[in-house]
Symmetry: C2
Subunit: 565 residues, 2 copies
Amino acid sequence: MQQRIVIVGGVAGGASAAAKARRMNDDVEIVMFEKGPYISYGNCGIPYYIGGDIPQREDLFLVTPETFWDRFRIDVRLHHEVLRIDRAQQEVFIQGPDGPFSMSYDRLILATGGVPLRPAIPGISLPGVHSLWTIPDGDAIMEMVQTLPAQAPVVIIGGGFIGLEMAEGLQQRGFSVTVVEKMAQVMPPLDPEIAAFAVQELQHHGVQVLLGDGVASFVETGGTVSGVRLESGRELPAALAIVSIGVRPETSLATAAGLEIGTTDGLSVDPQMRTSDPAIYAAGDMVESVHRCTETKMRIPLAGPANKQGRTAGHNAAVDLLHPPGDHQAFQGVLGTSIVRVFDLALAQTGLSQKTAELLGMDVQVSHTFSADHAGYYPGARTILLKLITERASGRLLGAQAVGASGADKRIDVLATAISAGLTVFDLEQLDLAYAPPFSAAKDPVNIAGMVAANVRRGQYRLLSKDGLQKHPADYSLLDVRSQEEWDAGHIPGAVHIPIDELRNRLADVPKGRPIVIYCAVGQRAYTAYRMLTQQGFSDLYSLSGGWQLWEGILDDPEYEVETH
Amino acid sequence: MQQRIVIVGGVAGGASAAAKARRMNDDVEIVMFEKGPYISYGNCGIPYYIGGDIPQREDLFLVTPETFWDRFRIDVRLHHEVLRIDRAQQEVFIQGPDGPFSMSYDRLILATGGVPLRPAIPGISLPGVHSLWTIPDGDAIMEMVQTLPAQAPVVIIGGGFIGLEMAEGLQQRGFSVTVVEKMAQVMPPLDPEIAAFAVQELQHHGVQVLLGDGVASFVETGGTVSGVRLESGRELPAALAIVSIGVRPETSLATAAGLEIGTTDGLSVDPQMRTSDPAIYAAGDMVESVHRCTETKMRIPLAGPANKQGRTAGHNAAVDLLHPPGDHQAFQGVLGTSIVRVFDLALAQTGLSQKTAELLGMDVQVSHTFSADHAGYYPGARTILLKLITERASGRLLGAQAVGASGADKRIDVLATAISAGLTVFDLEQLDLAYAPPFSAAKDPVNIAGMVAANVRRGQYRLLSKDGLQKHPADYSLLDVRSQEEWDAGHIPGAVHIPIDELRNRLADVPKGRPIVIYCAVGQRAYTAYRMLTQQGFSDLYSLSGGWQLWEGILDDPEYEVETH
């Protein structure tokens, strides 16, 4: 009798698993059950379809069930919900459009994904209160978008990926958008000083952002939502509300079958993507993954890992059924690398954030550098802010964050690769990256970030964070080494001003008695001043990490000076 | 007495060395001699200034001698040529504008750069025959550009970085440009099938490209150049000729001083950038470097290495003179990573090319993949062609090449990082890179390239190169699995056509008797066909690497199908 692989769920993880399984094993039957009306669609594109960047709804559909059958002999069943797994009998029970039935399996692959969180807030079920996860979710929002009047008030609850992408899209559509975020920052994977640039960019484009406030209830008028009442007591008008506060793993089927659930509430799998039942694999938003830096478990509901996990699960399930069985593949784990576009900015990160590393009790060194995405003398250069999080003892890179209008994605991908490979800041300063004036600088932003972090690690200078200075301002004297014009345009209160090029002749004016925090626009002149003062006998010096620009939240004010950190 | 560092040459290597030396040692005197009229300028920008992308000449100047003095107390002497080194006395002899003089040094840093090759071709000294390396070179060409009539014929000899950048710039200026290249391809660091895309792009924009032909002589009319006579006998009109056939290291000063010259004719240095004289360091285009993959010596006259080497040399010279001396830094070597923009395309590479690896007798596996720079469903996706060169025995990445209108630079930088870290194709398929629809795909082009290469290495399929098929066409049967429309638009002569979705029902039509080479547009459907046929009992199969698109040289004809290599 022909052996059979049954796959539950047909989007990223399930579709990847199905195609890979077929390529590895042409003899098995492969059946894929999808609860909804579509498989293999680009759900990451839905916010861009709603916002209008993606003009056609059909653009979101990647592969049809017909193609899956013709090309791969994968039997796709839409509108089929798997209700129960009988692990002892290796059988699943399905509710289809024509009634319930059962099917046996030799290998089962679960890819049931995630479900948007919908807390029991009064009024959350009102018409006009939506989540966004699937195509039908998108269709429902799109229908409202096409009927609401211009300037209609829209409230987005949650400032994560989907929340910010929807804020951009709906503001572009001409609505009056407010983002409400319970935490003190948007984009939880980022550290707060980096996430602050997203808030600025949203505000710059007319989006209202309310941080540190949650939803108490949704207000009804005439049977549909008309407003949002916040925990602070504030009330916002809302013709449409979108709840995007996260997703939980859809593990009800797995839980009912007694499969092991991890500490993160995701389904436990081993590196082969095998659950606690050796006949059952799983992939995608429902499983928990291992972080490559910390070996800790975490959930990363993102498309990249889902596809790679699906491919691994599909491969392994398929080779189990070869005669003899083939070798398994292993999924190497996640870094949580991610990126979001917020109007003209990209914000990206990989690996550990500073706050996560500190929560884990790790001793990390952080540094911030601003540098141009390509040679400053070639038109169109835009600034990238890079933050590196490194293990203090070893200099090993643990995490990185980037903000910029151009090229932030490139630097985060380079740094994600560096983290995967265990590179240190000493490696980063010497990476041999591609340079021509339209693409980069002779010292790429990654090199410059590496140089600064390596200089700190070598003891050539010390950095003080904005946060550290803000917490204990009285502990330090401040020395601003920028030009007169820069000083006049704004400076940190209490600072002494000595322009860098006058410093050698004005050593007597350098403040004494307390540790000195030197700053310039981004840290480059401060470094020069630091090195000179050190050698002139000054001690207990710091450079303010990220300088005036990070202090003030100014991204694109590049100094086109020789970069010789 | 104050100790002194003398630096010879004030552009990339010299200027970097000077600034770093000062940061490490505030007590030494630093004197920088520059033969020409400028220091620290963006020479990589000169072609873009001539082409008009960089509007102002002054944009090219990064730091003035005044800034070097005010900020760093670096004594810059323009128009000063160092004529001789007396190593025994640690003294240099200089010809300055006011006559000759000598100066002692405690540490000497040589950064004399390179000199454009000017072979003894009859007429090469005619007015109108130029090289491009320095600002005065650029000024001389710019003067001609501003006086020549529209459509004037320009001949560029040499199809390397500068030649192609100048071809673009001068064509944009409205001249009628011909590139003459002695080799059978442009861009020598690239493999020929990749470099071919640059030729197509040049031709598409109206540049004439003549490969495999050299210059026999320059033709004179009225005292200036009027034409170029080629070795083939062909004669081209030329109101301006630019000779850009490479640079030689400027080592005459070093050679005369008896410093050791390497086998590549570059100055020998150790990883600390120290020459055979421990009091003399060197950096930049004049030195030879160690390739990180092969440990062999090579010369890489590029700005990235020059800056990093200069920084290393400056650091080490400066800490030698501390009391006690500080720790040296080491330069980690080069990958030869580079990129060139040719009109709308970027061509980039890192590490070893296939041809270099084969010349070195290495057993390499190569693969070609075409994939979209970002999600196909998000507007504006453009195709990237990636080539990986890997060590067959280990799967370790040795080199990579990329062509594309968008994002080729990103992928080469990721792959350069991977090579530096010793990553294998198995690591590449699992890199956790940043995905959102405007920036990448759930499987980034680097992941896809890694998947294909890893599948080959695991024995899941075999690739045949275009070259291998062209050399022995009679040895193979060809199977085209594309759609009817694609087949009708063009196919490889002699191929049998069975669309992928009909293949399962038409196994009897698959050609027999000889090894079968399967192809589709880019290799994805061929892989599916290969796997199916293998399991249906067919053996001795190949997939044509890069498929029809590489065969025909078609870059941007993406298939927006699910990418499940």
